[in-house]
Symmetry: C2
Subunit: 254 residues, 2 copies
DNA sequence: CCAAAAGTGTTATGTCTACACCCATGA
DNA sequence: TCATGGGTGTAGACATAACACTTTTGG
């Protein structure tokens, strides 16, 4: 290192124009459950660079708004959903060359929605689609910029938050069965969970889910109708669910 | 919402200059244990705005470097320490007006070092100091910009990471006693931990600490000499320490 | 010898896992 | 009535919290 740093306390004769200018964007990874699989909302690019490839929705931060505000605005504009309470900032990305045209630093947000099919179609049907996360991450569907990494990080974050926060209920709509809730954990963690123990671990979390008294209609295959619950007050940090999985067994193992 | 969003796929006739320009900085919250208390490295500002107030070290990101690289460079320049593996990005801050002079978005990093007194003095003795985190957060020492919030978020993040990662060993130097390690948890979490149970919970984490065979010299008050350990391979996600605290008792309670 | 700090043993209590078994439904 | 999924019971394995007790030092 040769140059002495300029501390944040800036030098007296400061001129903004002599410091490097960046564009700042917010990108929102919208995750949802569809068909018992985790999906991400993507838009198809119509212009270079990365023309024809899929990308996560996002846009420029305005100087007059906060980062959270920009993410909330973008989410509302893209999906019509006011999901402010579900927006979580999880990373910033600024590698040189990540946008070939200019210096862009993007701040990435995670939004969890319950099945969003209709909403996505509403904005720009041809350009927006729900893609299974597995296809976006295994390279089957190529993402523009560094968006594959951003999606990967978002999914990892959800996995942690399932354990630490009440984010799971954001996937499942106003009322839900334990089977639906369990499907979220199983899809994100890639494990099978024992239904009996899962139920108990959730019920034990005081005030997290509240029984409605109603029951869901069984599927065409029959079965006992499941009790319907709604989300209680979400917990904050410090009251984690304890994960309960059969010993190291993963979904798909024999 | 009236304006239709500009998707990240930019419009065809794109001109960078028509999008808002920001300065991008990285700020590094350097935490360390000193005198059994958690301390943060701060620098005193010599120029307006916030002249005379304390701030966390940081500087401008260069267009040719990554965010992680910028943080690593700043840390090296400020403290002389190459602590790349200990740098964790934990948040981005971009509220309008957070810097009164211009639009600045900062990406905040956490660095954990073992006692850094000499190092901090080495760079710019008069301007750098280790301040107890409690004083920086209770308003006794006022921080410039939104740095109080940034420090608060950093400390919260450390608390989570203590549980989830091997970050604790970063506080304590190449060899350490269980008492030293326990002091880290107690300081960050603000609790008292039972020494016997703490020892067992750490030893149970396979391969985390490795006995050196040597023993530390007792303090002037005597006592059995403590065994010295060194850090094993740090664990990754998924092998958390279970917290072990006496029932809800907090440090300072009678 | 006494106080202090480290480290080990022990026990009651709590939690987790696996799985048996009962319940309510569609076909 | 059978197959299917929902929900409860329970026993053994395991983890945790509290604290008594032993070890090894300084003074």
């Amino acid at each position: 290192m040769t140059t002495k740093t300029t501390h944040h306390p800036l030098p007296p004769h400061y001129d903004p124009s002599q410091y490097p200018a960046f564009a700042v964007t917010v990108d929102v990874v919208v995750l949802t459950m569809s068909d018992s699989r985790l999906h991400v909302l993507l838009v198809r690019r119509g212009v270079p660079p990365f023309e024809g490839m899929w990308a996560i929705p996002g846009g420029f931060k305005r100087p007059t708004e906060t980062l959270d505000g920009a993410a909330k605005r973008e989410l509302a504009e893209e999906t019509g959903v006011d999901g402010a309470s579900l927006l979580t900032q999880f990373g910033a990305y600024g590698d040189p060359g990540r946008d070939p045209r200019m210096n862009v630093v993007t701040v990435a947000y995670l939004a969890v929605l319950r099945d969003v099919r209709g909403i996505a179609a509403g904005t720009d049907a041809a350009a927006a689609a729900l893609i299974p996360v597995s296809e976006a991450l295994n390279g089957k569907i190529k993402l523009a910029f560094d968006h594959a990494k951003i999606v990967r990080d978002a999914v990892e974050r959800v996995g942690v938050d399932l354990d630490l926060t009440g984010i799971a209920t954001a996937f499942v709509g106003p009322t839900f069965t334990f089977a639906e809730l369990r499907a979220v954990y199983e899809a994100v963690w890639g494990v099978q969970l024992d239904g009996a123990n899962f139920r108990r671990s959730i019920v034990a979390e005081d005030g997290w889910v509240v029984p409605t008294g109603r029951r869901a209609r069984p599927g065409s295959a029959g079965g006992k109708p499941a009790e319907l619950y709604r989300a209680g007050r979400m917990w904050k940090h410090g009251s984690p669910i304890r994960r309960s999985q059969p010993n190291g067994r993963r979904k798909g193992d024999s």
